[in-house]
């Protein structure tokens, strides 16, 4: 095989051969990444409950999913929590990014580092420390505790996304607005915010997805009433296979694909 390749591509064979090898390796990596997901989606349409052997095509599991009370209830909780956390994250993240861009703060570097901490801190440490904080503050666990926790790890992602966009923004824009008599607030709202919209939207989508998928931190900060969908799925998956979970997973995957494509589209818009 290598001899053949060497004859067909005389020079520089070493590099070209390496490239072929790398390509094949990358293909294997993608097979590894997508194979299991494809199997899962395929089985979500299988009538067999044990889903080893393909029996026949059905939408039954999707139907059962739509009628499953715990799943619907926890999905509702997740949507409420993710929506609230996203709104808070967008407000804190966008204003934070703008202010850090607009003003020179003493200790700006320290602030920036602190903002990165929730993004890279191990989730379990964040979960335990927030749980203890809520105990100490005698805040009853419920929706508020999860929303506070989720906002804390979501807003840095919005902030960083907006910051990246701000770096490419012409500073003359705001000055022009101010020279033309706009108050700083009006200049921010009418000039800066529209420029930042693609970054804010993709940051918001990121925050929403992170919140919807979050398991570990929620694990420590929910109450039975505010249980989220990932916790419900985790509980069901621990018991073993469940065709309803296949259907749910398929829906999750399709939603994620739509989300990624939309974010890419936004990025392309912003780059123009």
């Amino acid at each position: 095989m290598s001899d053949l390749a060497a004859k067909r591509f005389p020079r520089p064979t070493g590099l070209r051969l390496l490239d072929w090898g790398l390509g094949a390796w990358t293909a294997l990596v993608f097979l590894f990444l997508y194979g299991p997901i494809a199997v899962l989606i395929g089985y979500s349409f299988n009538t067999s409950k044990l889903n080893v052997v393909w029996e026949a095509f059905t939408f039954r599991w999707y139907g059962e999913l739509m009628r499953n009370e715990p799943i619907l209830r926890t999905l509702g909780n997740s949507l409420v929590i993710a929506a609230a956390a996203t709104v808070l994250a967008v407000v804190i993240g966008t204003t934070g990014a703008w202010l850090l861009h607009r003003f020179r703060y003493r200790g700006a570097r320290a602030i920036q580092t602190l903002i990165c901490v929730p993004m890279i801190m191990p989730e379990i440490v964040m979960g335990v420390s927030l749980l203890i904080l809520f105990r100490v503050a005698s805040l009853e666990l419920g929706f508020a505790s999860v929303i506070l926790a989720h906002t804390t790890f979501c807003f840095p992602f919005v902030l960083v996304a907006v910051q990246a966009r701000l770096q490419g923004l012409d500073p003359a824009l705001e000055e022009a607005a101010l020279d033309l008599g706009a108050t700083p607030l009006r200049a921010f709202w009418l000039v800066i915010v529209p420029c930042l919209r693609p970054a804010v939207i993709s940051g918001a989508l990121m925050a929403f997805t992170l919140s919807m998928d979050e398991l570990i931190i929620s694990f420590f900060t929910v109450s039975p009433a505010s249980r989220t969908l990932p916790l419900q799925v985790f509980g069901m998956a621990k018991v073993g296979l469940n065709p309803m979970l296949n259907a749910l997973s398929a829906i999750f995957v399709v939603t994620t694909v739509a989300f990624v494509l939309f974010t890419e589209h936004l990025k392309r818009l912003a780059a123009r």
Partner: protein, 293 residues
Amino acid sequence: MQALPAADAENPHARRATPMGWWLLAPMLIWLALFVVAPLLILVVYSFCSRDDLGRVVFDFTWTNYARVFDDTYLKILARSVGYAALTTLICVAAGFPAGWFIARRPPAVRNRLLLLVMIPFWTSFLIRTYAWIAILKSEGLLNATLLSARVIPQPLELLYTPVAVVIGLVYAYLPFMILPVYGSAEKLDNALVEAAHDLGAGPLRAFSEVIIPLTWPGIAAGVLLVFVPAIGMFAITDLMGGAKVAMIGNVIQNQVFKARNLPFAAALGVVFTLLFVASYLALQWRGRRARA
């Protein structure tokens, strides 16, 4: 960390913060103080507390919790967690580095499409992705069924709830987190440098170890940090893929909080875990500085 954006100090039009500027930033600073700094400080304080007979936390200064972290049972679990995470990281580097590198070397149109293919698993819930492996690995699952019908094996293999399954689950969950940062550094690397090394007579191995590795180190380091540390504490994957058989530090923390209700001990474990995180971060930084020197 190099992968994170630098502080936005470059804006030449930034003005010195007025009191108004501080007031406007205050909500975010208070949020960070309340929900990032305060919890960590309380965690440290709690780790030195003890419990009374009723299970309430008593504020006295004791090293008992830390002594317990380093007694044989927990030290073994800690070592096992670090071992599994290290193995996971190693496999992720081995699998992810060539892929990230290859994607970065494609023409832009192909590159963006391949990158999209990495983003999708990156953003798909790890829970869903771990669950996918249960269907494949369990004793009456797809892999066993295939191998049985092909008569490769006489009876089903016990794959699920084994250490191998845990590592597969961890690698599967974290692989995209390695590919993306490696891609990030490899994309910035000037191809001329690699060709120059080649033209100057460096073999592929030498070009790799003396040009490619040092120049993509920030990406590798970021990837290692994104894989190694979370993998140590990831109790959900060990629960799903390892059953209750393979206990990791994350499972212990979770048990101490919800079953044993020993918050001070859980706090001590959390502090040790955080220190482990800081140590690996500093080690990677140090290695990076040495590679550049």
